[in-house]
C-alpha cells in the first residue's frame, strides 16, 4: 500500500509564535501525477512545502519519500533527494547566461575547470526538448518572464527530480506561455515525475491537475480526484462557506455625478511604452485598465502617480492641470498607488505591520516630526479590524504575514490617507480566492465612499466583475473602451485582438 505513494507526509505539525500553522496534516502524492495543493493564504500550503523542501523544520510528524523516512535540513539536501522547487518569484541570476543558470552549482568539469562546451550543449538540448527557442549563451535577463520560468523548470528537470514543487508558476505568465508550461508538465507526468502544483487560478487547476488536496487554517480539509470536484465545491471548501455569492458580479452602472472628472489624462507619452494614452475617471468610478503584459498599463499608472516625471501630455485633477515631480506630489493631491510588485515596491520586510501601514500617513500624525504613537496605533488597530487582517499584533514583522494579508496592510496604508483616487495594480495577484473576494468587496466599498479607483488586472473576469468601465490599451495606445452591457470578457478579448491579425501577431 505504501509503495503506491511517492511522497507521504504524515501528521505534520508546526507551531509558529501565535499561530498553529499546520495541525497534524496528512499529504500524499503518487508518482506521475499532478497534484494541486489548494487553500487560502495562511492555510498552510507554503509552510507545508517549506517543511518538505527543508526550509523549515517540522515540530512533529514524518515524511516518507520513496518508502524511506527522510528529513531535510536544507533545500540542497531535498534537491539531492530528488525534490526540486520552482518558486513564484524566479530564483535565478539575471546576469548569468541561461546555460549557467541551468547548471549553477552542478557545472560539469574537465581538467581545466568548467566544461563550457558541455554546459551549453546540455542546456540547449534540454530547452529544445521543452520546445523553447532561446540562445543559451545570452544572459537570462535578456529574455521575458516566460522564458525565465521555463529556464527554472529546465533547471528543475536537469537535476533528475522525482518530485517538482511549483509554487504559483503561472502568476506572471500569459495564456500562451501557460500553455507551453502545461505541455511541459504533461510530459513530465508521462515520465513518472510527480508535480505539486500551487495556483490560485482555479481554471488551471481543473485543466491540468489529477488530484486536489485542500487545506484550511492549517488543517487538511479533503483529498480527492479533480474530476470529482466542481469549481464551486472547491471554492466552498477552501473558504469554508457557501461560495455562490463570493464570485458574482458586484458592480452596476456608474451612477455618480457627471461633474468634472477626478482625473483626466490626455495624450500621455513616455520614452518607452506609452504613445498617447488618454483616460478619464469620475468620482467614485471604478475604471479598469486592460491589455496584454507590456501594453503599458503599469507605465501609465506610474506617470499618473508621479513616479515617472519624464513624459509628455497632460494630467488634470478636478479640472486643474498638474505636473508631478515625484510620487509625493501626487499623494499630496489625494492619489494612492498599490504596486503590482508587493515585495520590490511595497513592503518594508523587517518593519512591523504598524510601521508599514503608517509609512505614508506619518506626516499627518506627526507634529514637528514627532510621531504621535497613540494616534498611529489607533489607526492601525482600526484597519486591522475593518480589513480583517490576520496578524498576531501590530508589532508583527510584515514579512511573517501571508501574501493576502500583506496586500491588505498595503491597501490600508493608502486607505487611511482617505485618498481621492487609488490605483490598484494587480491587487489580487498571488492571493487566494477568499482574500481575493474580500479585496474585491473592498474595492466596491471604496468606490461607494466616493473614492475613484483605477484597477489594473490581467484577469479579465476580475475587471468585468468589478469595473464600471474598462479601457483597453495596446502598445501604449487606447484601442477601445467598454461599459455597461458591452462589458464582458469576450468583448475585452476581441478588442485586444482586433486588427492584430493584420499586424501579424501580438508582441509581448
Amino acid at each position: 500500500m505504501e509503495a503506491m505513494y511517492l511522497l507521504e507526509m504524515r501528521q505534520i505539525d508546526k507551531q509558529f509564535p501565535g499561530v498553529h500553522a499546520l495541525d497534524h496534516v496528512n499529504f500524499r502524492v503518487r508518482a506521475g501525477e499532478i497534484h494541486a495543493l489548494m487553500g487560502e493564504n495562511g492555510a498552510g500550503k507554503s509552510t507545508l512545502m517549506k517543511i518538505l523542501t527543508g526550509l523549515y523544520r517540522k515540530d512533529t510528524g514524518e515524511i516518507i519519500l520513496d518508502g524511506q523516512q527522510v528529513s531535510f535540513n536544507s533545500p540542497l539536501e531535498a534537491q539531492r533527494a530528488g525534490i526540486s522547487t520552482i518558486y513564484q518569484e524566479i530564483n535565478l541570476i539575471p546576469y548569468l547566461s541561461i546555460a549557467e543558470n541551468i547548471h549553477l552549482g552542478r557545472e560539469p568539469m574537465n581538467r581545466t575547470g568548467i566544461d563550457w562546451k558541455q554546459v551549453n550543449q546540455r542546456a540547449e538540448r534540454i530547452l529544445r526538448e521543452m520546445g523553447v527557442e532561446a540562445d543559451v549563451t545570452q544572459p537570462l535577463c535578456s529574455y521575458g518572464t516566460a522564458v525565465q520560468q521555463m529556464v527554472a523548470i529546465a533547471r528543475a528537470i536537469s537535476v533528475q527530480a522525482k518530485l517538482i514543487v511549483m509554487d504559483e508558476p503561472t502568476s506572471s505568465l500569459d495564456e500562451k506561455e501557460v500553455e507551453i508550461l502545461f505541455r511541459q508538465m504533461r510530459k513530465l507526468r508521462e515520465k513518472g515525475i510527480a508535480i505539486i502544483f500551487i495556483s490560485h487560478r482555479l481554471d488551471e487547476v481543473f485543466e491540468i491537475c489529477d488530484t486536489v488536496t485542500i487545506l484550511k487554517d492549517g488543517k487538511l480539509v479533503s483529498e480527492s480526484p479533480a474530476a470529482e470536484l466542481s469549481k464551486l465545491e472547491l471554492v466552498s471548501r477552501m473558504i469554508g462557506r457557501d461560495a455562490t455569492d463570493v464570485l458574482r458580479r458586484k458592480n452596476g452602472v456608474y451612477q455618480g455625478t457627471g461633474g468634472v472628472p477626478v482625473l483626466e489624462a490626455h495624450g500621455i507619452t513616455d520614452k518607452e511604452k506609452l504613445r498617447g494614452v488618454s483616460l478619464r475617471i469620475r468620482q467614485g468610478e471604478i475604471v479598469g485598465l486592460a491589455g496584454l503584459l507590456g501594453a503599458g498599463r503599469t507605465e501609465l499608472a506610474k506617470v499618473i502617480f508621479g513616479d515617472n516625471p519624464d513624459y509628455t501630455g497632460t494630467l488634470a485633477v478636478n479640472g486643474q492641470e498638474v505636473r508631478w515631480k515625484a510620487p509625493r506630489d501626487a499623494i499630496a493631491k489625494g492619489f494612492a498607488y498599490c504596486s503590482e510588485d508587493r515585495k520590490a515596491e511595497g513592503i518594508f520586510p523587517h518593519m512591523s505591520v504598524r510601521e508599514n501601514m503608517t509609512m505614508a500617513i506619518l506626516p499627518r500624525i506627526a507634529r514637528r516630526g514627532l510621531v504621535n504613537v497613540g494616534r498611529q496605533k489607533d489607526i492601525v488597530d482600526r484597519y486591522i479590524k475593518s480589513l480583517s487582517i490576520k496578524t498576531p499584533g501590530q508589532e508583527q514583522l510584515i514579512r511573517n504575514l501571508s501574501g493576502g494579508n500583506q496586500q491588505k496592510v498595503l491597501l490600508a496604508r493608502w486607505l487611511c490617507m482617505e485618498p481621492r483616487l487609488i490605483i490598484l495594480d494587480e491587487p489580487t495577484r498571488g492571493i487566494d480566492i477568499g482574500a481575493k473576494a474580500e479585496i474585491e468587496a473592498l474595492i466596491q466599498d471604496i468606490a461607494g465612499q466616493g473614492i475613484s479607483v483605477l484597477l489594473i488586472s490581467s484577469e479579465l473576469e476580475e475587471l468585468v466583475r468589478n469595473c464600471h468601465r474598462v479601457i483597453v490599451i495596446r502598445d501604449g495606445k487606447n484601442i477601445g473602451e467598454l461599459e455597461s452591457d458591452m462589458l464582458s470578457e469576450g468583448n475585452i478579448m476581441r478588442t485586444i485582438a482586433q486588427d492584430i491579425l493584420q499586424e501579424g501577431g501580438a508582441c509581448i
Binding site: Y56, R328, I331, H350, M351, E355, M359, A366, V371
Partner: protein, 328 residues
Amino acid sequence: MMDSIAAKNGHTCIDWGQNIRKYGTIYAFLLLVMFNILFTRNFASMGTLWNLTIQVLPTMLTSLGMVLVISSGGIDISVGSVMAISAVTSGLVLTGKTPLLGTDTGMAVLAALVVALVLGLFNGVLVACFKIQPIIVTLILYIAGRGIAQLMNNGGTIVFYGNTFTEIGLYRVGGLVPVQLFVSILFVWIIAFLLKKTTFGYYVQGIGENGKAARLSGIRTAQVLISVYVISALLAGMAGLFECSRASCADPNAIGQLAEMDAIAAVAIGGTSMNGGKARIMGTIFGALIIQLISIMVNMNNIPFAYSRIFKAAIIILAVYLQREKRR
C-alpha cells in the same frame, strides 16, 4: 508540551537565542570587563576607567553616525578623513592662520563643524541626487580627504597650547569625568530620539529596507539621505575636535586613521544589518566600547598591538554569528 506546562505554572522560559541576539553585545562587553578585572593589572582603577572613556568617545561618535548611514542602506568610509580635516581646520583657526576668522575657540569649533557639514553635503548629494553608490562616494572622500587635510598645513602637525580650546579638551568635571562624556551622551540621546520618535527615524529605516517603496510612499528620500550623511560627517567632525583638543595638536596623518573601520566594526558587533534596516543604537555604543576595550586590554598587557586586530576580528565573527538571521 514543555511550553504549555511552563506557562501554566506562571514561569516564562527564557528563550536564550532571542536573548543573546538582543543583549549579546552587552554580555560580551561585561565578559570582557570581567576578564580584564581579573587578569589585567591596574585595570580596576578609576584612572583606567576614565582613560577608556575618553578614548572611546570619538569612536562612539563616528559609530553613531555610521549606524545611521548603514541603517539607510549606505556606508560612510570617509569619517576618518573628515575627522582629520575638521581637526586641522580648528588648528588653523586657533593658530591664527586664518586671519579673517580670528583665533577664538568658538570660531575654531564652528569652522571645523561647518567644514564637516560641507563634506557631509558632498557625500549626501552624490549619493542621493546622482545615485552613485555610497561606498564609491565616500571612498572618494576617504582618499582625497586625507590628502586635503595634509595639504591644509603642508603636511605638518599643528600644535596649539594654552588656549581655551585645549583647556576645555582636558577639563575633567570633579577632577575625573572628562567633559566630552557629557557632550557624547547628549549626541547619543539626540540620535536615539531621532530614530525612535520622529518621522525621520521611520524614513531612514524605510529607505534602508526598500528605497523604492519609500519613494512610492511619498518620502523625500533624497532629503533624508543627505541629512544622514551630513549628520555622520558632523559627528565625525566632532570626533576630530575631541581628538585634537585632548592632544593639543592636530596631526593630519594620525587623526582618524582607521576610524571608519572601527566605526563599521562597532555597528556590526552591535547587530545592525549591513543591508540596511533597523539601527541598533545601544548595540552600537557597546560595540564601540568593546572595540576600544580590546585595544586597551592589549596595550596594558604588553601584547603586541597587532594582536588587537585579530581579537577584534574574532569578536566581529562571533557577533555576526550569534546575531545572524535565524531560520524558522
